[in-house]
Amino acid sequence: MSRLEAKKPSICRSDPLTGERARASLAALKGLVTSCYGPAGRLKQLHNGRGGSVVTTSQSAALLAGLPVSHPVLKVLTAAVRNHVACFSDGGLFTAILCCNLVENVQRLGLAPTTVIKLNKHLLSLCTSYLKSEGCACRIPVDFSSTQILLSLVRSILTSKPACMLIAKEVDHISTLILRAFLLTIPENAQEHIILGKSIIVPLKGQRVIDSAVLPGILIEVSGVQLMKILPIKKSDSFKVALFCVSLSGDLSDTGEGTLLVSYGVSLENAALDQLFNLGKQLVSDHVDLVLCQKVIHPSLKQFLRTHHVIAVDRIGVSLMEPLSKVTGTWPIGSLGSISPSSYGSVKDLCIAKFGCKHFFHLIPNKTTICSLLLCNRNDTAWDELKLTCQTALHALQLTIKDPYVLLGGGCTETHLVAYIRHKTRNEPESVLRDERCSQTELQLITEAFCSALESLAGSLEHDGGEILTDSKYGHFWSVQANLPSAVNWPDLPSRCGCGLYSSQEELSWSFLRSARHPFPPQTCLSREATGSADTLTLDCFTAKLSGLQVAVETASLILDLSCVIEDTN
């Protein structure tokens, strides 16, 4: 019995950001996400004292999913990041760090939230319109005639997740596999609407990463016992397939709400079994070679089918139904009665394959966009991380096909943007001041806060105490090793910038990232040969990063706009 209890009054706190508690928890979250960022990011181990598996990760998706957050403001922040990751898979840490930086920087200024929000919005629109413009120098159009850029994109995603525990050779192998898997999902004769297929990730834990493979078609795992019962497959160029979505176990279907009265001696089980045998006879007479069932097939029917040289596989599960019906071209059969011949499909070949210690039933289609990515890694945690990374990479590739651009990675986009914004607000502030009704000083302060948020985001790629420089021609990101002997002239040291587009052979002048500098116009318009010359670039997904930037600024504005928090304590 439930007890009726009066609701306790809520707790109302005004100005949720000014308190010591809020500042401390925001700083804690910022420290957490910052330390995970980038290829050199530190790993986090999440474990629950009450049990469950230990997760080692540096990805925002896994990290924030397992992290309990108590402060309401942080709840908003983490929810925004998680929703972003659910939409785009990539750029979660980017969004989180930028949002934390913005809130912290603006909080320090102590300006009226109205002005801050207005100007932040303005600066954001400055960024997005620049990133979308043709003259943007940190955006590269994707050339689909070569795999170079796509491969670089996949590689960048793989290397930025150190918890996958891959060595360079393995990174190469996995990134080619991912790209191949993705290319297999693109239909050959594309019309105006491209409907991408699906890559199914098949787990194979405990194997070497190098054993991972991509196979066209579908792999259905079968147990050893089942395998013995499957007959040797005869050679043929085409196999007829029937795919059932109803249960073939002989149980009674829905009989309605009323009562069903069965006379003594009448066995419905036998009647149902008779029906199944009739079905089996029809299948045999239709020359079906393979029967697949989502649910359970009655053992007698299985036996019957085996004696008639029909292969039967049951308990396939609902997740494989759609790809199976696509691969084989069948229509999932929902009837035990007569089956329309048009609902049968076919596959080109069938074979039984063994990978590691697992046996698979491999359906090779004539022509479809479904493939299986057999993913191996040494242990469970690393495999989970690798799987998540592969999904991220596949998603990023899909997004790239929709919007065929990539952004320069490795911190170069951020530093370049900073240079652009600084230059723009310094040289053409009139339009802003007129539209937004604010003073020059306010604009200056908030631009500085925004830019330093982006800069420290780029700076958090460096975890080993190195120095970060930026050049005054392109506005790119250059990092130098720490603890250099002071005698060495450091600007000579960096060989390539963060994204790998430019080398230090050019005559460039460097300065420290967070030092006072004169704003300069970064060179716009990327030259073609520059992108062609560099073979391995660090790249980011354009759509994900753009949306991450917008979400971060919007969420920061939202948090800064809070006047009080009402906590329901019931």
Partner: protein, 724 residues
């Protein structure tokens, strides 16, 4: 049971109201900020909606609970103004306390016995609340009608018979609404989105009210929330989006025929309440065979009728899905009853009844759709239908994006509230100005007669203003008045139960006296249907307060005698329309008055300053002391809202400057210049005012709060008269 003496209930109420005000005033107006509410389930909700905040507080204090209850009943009616409600109430209480403080000083020595003082206090509160009620029911309407109405603007682009929406004024109205409802960086976007939505959905311009009604009723089905995308990605989607995936999808071109079913197509062995006896295995098999065949036949039949889409409110068995797929029919299952009713409203389609004999059955219940395809939003699949509408509503959906669910919900609520507000703004609102004074005697039918005779003699309150206008009007008018009086005589003899009349009354009528005044009001307005809407516009936008903008007000159950009255009355009420400009206003107010649909004023405290000015003027002329006092208190309290709105403004835009400029403009009869773009509905402001005054009288009349420790069992009332 414990009795808690609530001595000085105004002071207590003021404390409560002040606490609420500090919370609420932070989110008031365009400069307002957001409030974050966390739920015990761990969700977070962002809100600037006053009603939502007050609910989230879970207040315990009895007076606070009364206030919250009043606010929520006001919100149910209008969907707007919760924050202003609290601020205004707080200022009223403050004004009351100031007065009582003064009085206390002078009477301090007379009331030494505390008990006696308490009772005296209660009596005085009752007296004051009575005065407030009188004000609300009579003076307010009078002032609104006689003075404020000349400042009203109309949202309709032309004052012809056909009301057409003017895009720019709608934008201004919505802009001002969303300024107070959603975050500062999004309100432009959301109000633009809503404006586009209204115009896209309105297939026929003159029937926008119908569209607003459908959207308001079915808003939940017409929006799709998408989290994880920036707010700027929100957009309008043409057609209807059902928040589920196809069970079977068969691509089809051209027009798509739709059928709705509400039961499973596959016959079952037994229906509820019946018994099916199986005697042999063969019987079982034949019946199963029959079921299969029959299902196939029905689906085949649908295919023959060229049906391409089956919408089902229930889950269909696998067999039906299979057959539908083979026959090229797409299936959507498990529609909610709300979705079904929306679809039915849009395409006017009745559910398909399964035929007894499937062979010879002509399908009459079908509708057409332009397209029917899956829609992917944030990697979730939805059903996207392009229904061909048979009513004035062209179906469109809003996809609202936001980084967090709480923000999406805030935008959803704000949009829904905006539709409610628009519906209210496009309704006429009746004012009762027929009775002018002496509410005490006005309790029964004959009294109206007496009252109206009094009105001929012109009672004190209206004396100064109306008499003047009388001198200006033509002599003919007096003759008309005499006729009216005879009409009223007839009217008062009628036995019309007041209960019936109340159904026609739009505003709430808390006192018998008011209902009676409506009686005359209503009877007279019966004459209007034939006249249609005649609006005489001399100045563009400024509409004289015409009584005739309410043609749909035909009354049920008009008795025979009544019809006679109507005939007589018709002559009279056409007459005033020949007069022009302000004279029309004064003479018309005898018949009936209302705030016409779509009346607006610029935002930024315009309404408040106007009302303040005219109330003070009124108070100066008024002879009765308590009416003067009440008018003064209200006039001063109402300025509290613009004071908060202008708090952050400096220099020339600060509140005292704006106020002085506005008063100067009013005194010299010049138009008031507002430096803000945006409009707000007069009707909603008026309703807010009346709701606050009712709440105040509610609070003032309570003299004792009884705290009960038992579990709440039944609704208990706080009337303590019998207890003591």
């Amino acid at each position: 049971m414990r009795a808690m003496a609530a001595a000085g209930s105004v002071t207590v109420a003021l404390h409560v109201a002040e606490v609420l005000e500090t919370i609420v005033s932070g989110c008031l107006g365009p400069e307002g900020r957001q409030v974050l509410c966390t739920k015990p389930t761990g969700e977070v909700l962002l809100s600037r909606d006053g009603g939502c905040l007050l609910k989230a507080l879970h207040l315990e204090h009895p007076i606070a609970r009364v206030m919250v209850a009043c606010v929520s009943s006001h919100l149910r009616k209008t969907g707007d103004g919760a924050k202003t409600f609290i601020v205004f109430l707080c200022h009223l209480l403050r004004g009351l306390r100031e007065i009582t403080d003064k009085e206390k000083d002078s009477f301090l020595f007379e009331n030494i016995q505390t008990c006696g003082r308490h009772w005296k206090n209660c009596c005085r509160w009752k007296f004051i609340s009575q005065a407030f009620l009188t004000f609300q029911t009579q003076i307010l309407d009078y002032v609104m009608d006689h003075y404020l109405s000349r400042h009203f603007l109309s949202i309709f682009s032309s004052c012809t018979k056909e009301r057409t929406l003017c895009r720019s004024s709608l934008e201004m109205l919505l802009g001002a609404y969303f300024c107070g409802r959603v975050g500062r960086n999004n309100h432009n976007l959301i109000s633009q989105l809503m404006c586009d939505y209204v115009f896209k959905c309105t297939a026929c311009e003159s029937r926008f009210e119908e569209v607003l009604e459908i959207v308001d009723d079915c808003f939940v089905e017409l929006k799709v929330g998408v989290t994880g995308l920036p707010v700027s990605d929100s957009r309008i989607i043409a057609g209807l989006v059902l928040q589920r995936d196809f069970s079977v999808y068969c691509p089809a071109d051209g027009d798509i025929r739709i059928v709705i079913v509400t039961e499973t197509i596959q016959p079952l062995f037994s229906i509820p309440g019946s018994e099916f006896t199986l005697n042999s295995e063969a019987q079982f098999q034949t019946s199963q065979f029959w079921i299969t065949e029959r299902t196939k036949a029905i689906v085949k039949h649908l295919q023959n009728q060229n049906v391409k889409l089956l919408l089902s409110t229930v889950k269909q068995p696998d067999l039906v899905i299979y057959c539908a797929g083979l026959n090229g029919i797409s299936v959507v299952e498990c529609l909610s009853s709300e979705e079904l009713s929306l679809i039915q409203r849009v395409i006017g389609l009745a559910p398909f009844v399964l035929p007894e004999a499937s062979s010879q059955y002509e399908l009459s219940h079908t509708a057409l759709a332009k397209f029917c395809k899956p829609l992917i939003l944030r990697s979730k699949r939805f059903v996207h239908l392009g229904l061909m509408s048979t009513c004035s509503f062209a179906p469109h959906c809003i996809a609202l994006c936001g980084p967090v669910q709480g923000l999406v919900e805030q935008h959803e609520n704000a949009l829904h509230g905006a539709f409610k507000m628009l519906r209210q703004a496009f309704k006429d609102l009746d004012l009762n100005c027929v009775t002018q004074t002496s509410d005490q005697s006005c309790t029964s039918g004959p009294c109206i007669y007496k009252n109206s005779r009094e009105s001929n003699e012109l009672p004190k309150i209206v004396n100064s203003s109306i008499q003047r206008s009388y001198q200006d009007t033509v002599v003919k008018n007096k003759g008309e008045l005499a006729k009216t009086q005879t009409n009223l005589k007839v009217c008062s003899n009628l036995i019309v139960p007041s209960v019936k009349l109340e159904q026609n009354v739009l505003c709430s009528t808390p006192k018998v006296a008011v209902t009676d005044s409506y009686q005359t009001d209503e009877t007279l307005r019966c004459s209007s249907p034939n006249k249609g809407r005649i609006m005489d516009d001399h100045e563009p936008f400024i509409e004289s307060n015409s009584a005739n903008s309410k043609p749909e007000n035909t009354r049920r159950g008009i008795s025979y005698e009544n019809l006679q009255v109507t005939k007589l009355a018709r002559k009279d009420s056409i007459l005033p329309l020949r007069y022009k400009s302000l004279e029309t206003c004064t003479s018309q107010s005898y018949y009936s008055s209302s705030i016409p649909a779509g009346c607006v004023l610029p935002v930024g405290g315009n309404f408040e300053i106007l009302l303040h000015y005219y109330l003070l003027n009124y108070a100066k002329k008024c002879q009765q002391s308590e009416q003067t006092m009440v008018s003064r208190i209200i006039a001063n309290a109402i300025l509290g809202v613009p004071k908060i709105l202008y708090k952050s403004k400096k220099g020339n835009y600060s509140f005292p400057q704006v106020y002085v400029r506005a008063l100067q403009a009013l005194q010299t009869n010049q138009p008031m210049i507002s430096n803000q773009t945006g409009l707000e509905s007069v009707a909603s402001k008026y309703q807010l005012l009346t709701s606050v005054l009712q709440c105040l009288t509610n609070i003032l009349t309570v003299d004792l709060v009884i705290n009960i420790k038992r579990q709440p069992q039944e609704v208990y009332d706080q009337d303590s008269e019998e207890e003591l």
